[in-house]
Amino acid sequence: MLLAREQESEPFQKLGGQEMLKFTRRNAIAGLAALTAATSFSVVSSVADDRSSIKIGYAVSKSGGNATGAGITTIPNYELWVKDVNAAGGLELPDGSRLPLEVIEYDDRSQTEEVVRAIQRLGAKDKVDFILPPWGTGFNLAVAPLMDKFGYPHLAVTAVTDKAPEFAKRWNKSFWFLGGGVDYAEALSEVLSAAQEEGQINNKVAMISVADGFGIDLVNAARPALEDKGFDLAYDVTYPLGTSDFAAIVNDAKNSGADSFIAFSYPPGTFGVTKQAQVAGYNPKVFYTGVGGAFPVFKKISGGQQEGVMGIGGVQSDSKAIQAYFAHHTEEIGNPPDSWASAVTYSSLQMLQEAIRRVGLDRDAVAKELSTGEFDTIMGKVKLEDNQLRTLWWAGQWQGDNFSAIAPAGGTGTVAPVIPKPAWK
């Protein structure tokens, strides 16, 4: 069995980069697919003639612990996209004809085994045309081997992992949209370092992180990144998922003398820390939060004092397309999207839609197109690098009503950070 594993892993160690995208470890099959890709146009259009819809399937956490995350970022965007496509008469195929989307959805109940089975069901029983990914890093990884096996392009949007390059090679039809912890941590340390050079902040940082894969990935990346830039970690603790009281933690952070406060947190922690900081009159010059800081509800939670709060993600707030998307989302779903993964999710769907318009329903061809093509999305022009979205915004800040991107510095659509953050009233 061990031997088998070695054999399996060998090809993708030898092959790298672009080469990898064309040839897979199932060389024969891929070769065949490449051959048929050229002729797929006619094949698909003939198929399209006797079909009345395009079947899209997905399994997301509608109940259980992950329901909250999925309910904010993933589900509304799937629903919005399906609505938009069907309102336009359906998904456009290369021959200009349109077919409406038919959706099959399952609740994975926040259990990995269920999400794995749901993908098997979608792929083997329902035989849907495309499968949209589940929510969460762990769940996307759990379904990745199956998506690969069934030959579905896997648009892993809500997965933050530093191993994305490795995974993109391992499963060559998988696409990783949200970067890894290192990206966010390094971008943040750039922002802080720039501010320190300007003399805006001292070299001390107070950092807290939530004890799960996400928090640990980020904090492990942030420690060396910050120390590299000469920062001193005056306070650095990890708190368990489920912590509801941050009085002691914020108090200790306040006493650390750091000008910068970083929380690699999840929404309950983000909200709790913000409220506690306000109560404690804790006014660091930089106040950075993790997931939840970019949620629209954050304005309400901070009592309208979100100005200057930094966080993970961010959008190009002056972009017309983003503004239109926010308005559209608010209108159709009832509340605005979050300013991190929501826009990315919707963009990934736009890419899928466009890829199908260009090459049809052949999944290998779509995967190839996703991998090599350039797409117009609400995030602007997007082209994947090594099956990963790299033109992301890594950090944002509330400026006025928008959570605007501030990193990478000088990147498209980013604004200059405001430091120090205005004090809480």
Partner: protein, 309 residues
Amino acid sequence: MTRTVLFAIAILAGLAILALAPAFLGEYGLGFMVSLMSYVTLATAWAMFSGPTRYISLATVAFFGIGAYTVAVFNETLPYPFVLIVAISIGALLATFVGFATLRLAGVYFVIFSFGLAELVRQLITWFEVNITGTLGRYIFLPFETRHIYWQLLALAAVTIGIGFWIRQTRLGLALKVIGDDELVAAHSGIALARTKVLLFVLSASLMTLAGAIQSPRWVYIEPAIVFNPTISFLTVIMALLGGATRLWGPALGVIPLMILFEWLSASFPDHFSIFLGAMFILIVFLLPKGVLSAVETRLARLKREANA
């Protein structure tokens, strides 16, 4: 004698058919069977201890999770069979501790204790990973296809039911039955309560640990929040109780209808799963307090009596 032989042949034939399932079931059907076998193992193992002793344990996921997590930690450094052995050892060690707790706790105290234990294990593993190893979230890349996992789980389920059957033939089984009826009488009849309960709990927990270990390669990515999902404990309890926790085949028979029901619910009513699940619980408590098997037997017995009268 011939009946026993026939029975054995029927069991072997059934096993053979199940073992051939990958040949005629598609990927989806096989995935379903993986879950089914996993829950048959969990529910049967759960009932092995909880059926006779009436201790409702919510620690199932503590062992299941330990199994999965052990594989995640060691899958790259140890050969697979050794990983399984390590998993069982850790599971059995923890089970010994829990087993001794049963000597002091009963009723709702044990229920809460077992639930708290699963949470404690999760918190401690998280803390350990964060502070000592600095990696939270581990990967399992074992070259198993669905069918490999299915075969392993089928074997485990068969072994579990086999152990359940064997226990019923032995003094241990008799001892358990007595403990279930009346602990005081059991003690005064010469049955060592502590040893019997701990032994059984360790046995049952080891099987649960193995189930988690075998199933884990399906998930690729493992972190404590994923493998210590309390829903698994709850579902195990409800499945075992539906079928009847005091019968050998009860738990297995409880798993099948519920799995099918859940499958249907999550497909047909993805937004209302919780509500249906809750309603199921209440219905079982009110209508089938002793499980389906027992209800059917009572009904049959009544029909027979009426026919005789």
